[in-house]
């Protein structure tokens, strides 16, 4: 008798426990998203940290589609094999329906062709710039699953040429990173400069991780240019600029956003960068952008100055908003289809922070659409998942960088049309 009641008690207790466990599970459910980013590279870590930060903000606002979001981060090591394997593991083992990544186009592309498109998973890249993605999409091979928040290189190249025109430079030498992004932007800026009647005295590729760039710099110095255009990364940029200045090169420099870095400024020395003008796709004139900068500064202790940080933030936010819009258990295809509903120019504008995310949840729950006002602007994707963007010119300051001129999307488009 006692035994039986004891048993009964245990069974009852277990059942209650299981039921409570079940209820608790429903509340604390977790949706996984994947991220394949080059965390073993110096500039890759902050990109991943920014993505994680966006996920934290979404969780602060109560998560996505009723669940907490967990970002499973994998290192791509900038090695296509490793990146593709990591993506495959995220899709197959963790069951993610939305994948952030990668940074290099050479890693993003095989992930797209051999993992995400076959599996029907949405892929959102913060930083891949290759024109090959546009081509692939036009051939219909991305199935609408690929988006990127990195504006095509055309915008920055055009603004770089605009700087040269405004400053009255007559001749410019170009140094570009020898990868798909650099080759692309180097070619575009040369074309734009020539269209403006500015002569290009030389265009030299900069390979990664060389101990010295004396040969390249000497080559660029031939023809005695009035200004130097650089589309390279901070580490190489530091060595290149040091050699350039020591060999008597001009301090008139125009740099792409990849050099918008405190590391570069500190290592070269601010006193040499007075005549340097940078270009970037713009922070928009909205509260959400300044909110992003101040939030980021509060969180990480410095302004978001590294390459790809705002892009990474927007990529993550838009991906999460689309997941919210698509609802519980949505597939990658369904999530990708909802991207237009969260970047709808006719929708309710929302800010890029936890409060904005909460507001977006309300609007989306009511069947409305929202217009995400992000850290890189009012992001709008075209049919190929590409973004265009307004642009800014900036210069280095004691604390970071400061914007010197804002060029609206209309002005960018008009200028680009004029140099075509």
């Amino acid at each position: 008798m006692t035994k039986t009641s004891f048993k009964r008690g245990v069974v009852a207790g277990l059942t209650t426990g299981m039921m409570m466990g079940g209820a608790a599970l429903a509340q604390d459910c977790t949706t996984k998203i994947g991220a394949v980013l080059p965390t073993s590279v110096d500039w890759g870590k902050p990109i991943a940290a920014t993505a994680q930060y966006a996920v934290d903000l979404a969780n602060e606002a109560g998560g996505v589609a009723g669940c907490k979001v967990e970002m499973v981060l994998r290192d791509s090591q900038v090695d296509p094999k490793v990146g593709v394997d990591a993506a495959k593991a995220l899709v197959d083992l963790d069951g993610v329906q939305m994948l952030l990544g990668a940074v290099s186009s050479g890693v993003s592309m095989p992930i797209l062709t051999s993992v995400t498109v076959p599996a029907g998973v949405m892929q959102m890249s913060c930083c891949s710039s290759s024109t090959a993605f546009t081509g692939l999409s036009q051939e219909g091979k991305t199935k609408g699953l690929f988006y990127r928040t990195f504006a095509t290189s055309g915008v920055q190249a055009a603004v770089g040429a605009m700087v040269a025109r405004d400053q009255g430079y007559k001749s410019v030498a170009i140094l570009y990173k020898n990868d798909d992004w650099g080759q692309d932007i180097g070619k575009l800026v040369a074309k734009d400069l020539e269209a403006l009647g500015i002569s290009v005295t030389g265009s030299v590729a900069i390979n990664d991780a060389q101990p010295s760039y004396r040969a390249e710099v000497t080559e660029a110095l031939k023809g005695n240019p009035e200004a130097l255009y650089m589309a390279i990364y901070p580490k190489e940029g530091t060595s290149v600029v040091r050699e350039w200045l020591s060999l008597g090169g001009t301090q008139n420099m125009i740099v792409a956003n990849a050099l918008k870095s405190d590391e570069f400024r500190d290592n070269v020395g601010l006193q040499y960068l007075g005549n340097t003008i940078g270009t970037d796709t713009a922070s928009p004139r909205s509260e959400s952008a300044s909110a992003f900068v101040s939030q980021y500064t509060a969180k990480f202790g410095s302004e978001p100055n590294g390459p790809g940080l705002s892009n990474s933030y927007d990529a993550t936010m838009i991906g999460l908003l689309a997941m919210e819009a698509a609802g519980t258990g949505a597939t990658g295809t369904e999530i990708a289809a909802k991207v237009s509903a969260v970047t709808d120019p006719n929708g309710t504008p929302i800010t890029a922070d936890a409060a904005g995310f909460s507001k977006a949840k309300e609007v989306l729950a009511g069947g409305g659409t929202v217009f995400y006002q992000g850290a890189t602007g009012n992001v709008r994707f075209d049919d190929n998942g590409d973004v265009s963007a307004p642009a800014v010119m900036w210069s280095f300051t004691e604390t970071g960088t400061e914007e010197t001129q804002y060029i609206s999307l209309e002005e960018v488009d008009a200028f680009m049309a004029s140099v075509k």
Binding site: K45, L73, R74, D92, L93, G182, Q183, D184
Partner: protein, 325 residues
């Protein structure tokens, strides 16, 4: 469950492809003693060759001949072989570390050529536009990956059997003779230069096959696929598995690639969040420790080379011993 199976198929495919390349290196280093420091050049030549011959036409560069898959793959192997022939004639007179440095240079030159020659291979953007064979019929999903794995495994087994027979034949004995003492081999009327070249080309063609399969599997190849890190990874696989032993070469590949991917997965799952940002660096340290440990405590690799002096000769020898005893 399906997810796990699907991932394992994917993993096995990549590991099997890399195994083929490691087998090619084993023929060169393990059996013939040729220190090829530029594995990635021949791997890449096969990959690029296959995609150029078998891809769909692209606007801005050579290629897109859209040849049938098996012809494209053989073409890729032939291109790797041709490259090996040219490189071999120039460099095979060099010994050991000198050969390693020369071939390493060839690999770096190959990567730079692919990165810069946009008209040839698409430059840094890489080569795309390859239609995976039979995709129309089989779709993109699990079935396709499974059948491709079977195809790759078939080629791996064929390569394995070919190499096992080769090293057990008198020709294999000759390769080892050259590896151990070239002068002695010459004194027996053999021509080491020619044999070394033949072994170098054969090994490189096998690497080319691996490259072709790799590029087909991803339907894409770019200069990022042919960085020196791949040469080091393939060498690490051979060293851990055991140079001179084909079984070791295959096991080493599965182990190292398994450790590489599993450590990444494990760190992303179990390491605390703050550490996660450093998983990449931690992974490099882990793999480095495994290789150093291996070299310190078991330099012959997991599977030692089995020395088969000569099958018939050994049998006779044993018989004579038996008689004497």
């Amino acid at each position: 469950m399906i997810g796990l199976l699907s991932y394992l198929v994917f993993f096995a495919t990549v590991a099997a492809i890399l195994s083929i390349a490691v087998l090619g290196l084993n023929l060169q280093w393990g059996n013939t003693g040729l220190f090829n420091g530029g594995v990635v050049a021949f791997f890449g030549a096969g990959g690029y060759g296959t995609l150029i011959l078998g891809g769909t036409p692209q606007a801005d560069h050579l290629g897109g001949f859209a040849l049938p898959y098996l012809i494209a793959l053989s073409g890729g192997m032939a291109i790797a072989g041709l490259l090996a022939w040219g490189v071999g004639i120039l460099t095979l007179r060099l010994r050991h570390d000198y050969l390693a440095i020369a071939t390493f240079g060839v690999a770096v030159a190959f990567e730079n050529l692919m990165r810069n020659a946009e008209g040839l291979a698409g430059g840094a953007k890489g080569l795309r536009g390859f239609e995976r064979p039979l995709r129309q019929a089989l779709g993109d999903g699990f079935t396709y990956n499974l059948l491709f794995l079977i195809f790759v495994l078939g080629l791996l087994i064929a390569t394995y059997i070919f190499l096992e027979r080769l090293i057990r034949s008198p020709y294999g004995r000759l390769l080892r003779a050259i590896r151990e003492d070239e002068t002695a081999a010459m004194s027996l009327g053999k021509n080491p230069a020619r044999i070394r070249l033949a072994a170098f080309i054969a090994g490189s063609v096998i690497m080319g096959l691996a490259g072709g399969l790799y590029a087909t599997f991803y339907a894409f190849i770019s200069p990022q696929d042919v960085l020196p890190i791949l040469t080091f990874q393939i060498w690490a696989m051979l060293i851990v598995g055991g140079a001179g032993n084909n079984k070791g070469a295959v096991m080493g590949t599965f182990l190292i690639w398994g450790a590489w991917t599993a450590s990444g997965w494990g760190l992303s799952r179990f390491a605390p969040l703050e550490v996660q940002l450093y998983t990449g660096s931690l992974q490099f340290i882990l793999i480095g420790v495994v290789i150093v440990g291996m070299l310190l405590w078991r330099p012959q690799g997991l599977f030692e080379e089995k020395l088969v002096v000569s099958q018939s000769g050994r049998a006779k020898h044993l018989k004579q011993q038996g008689v004497r005893e």
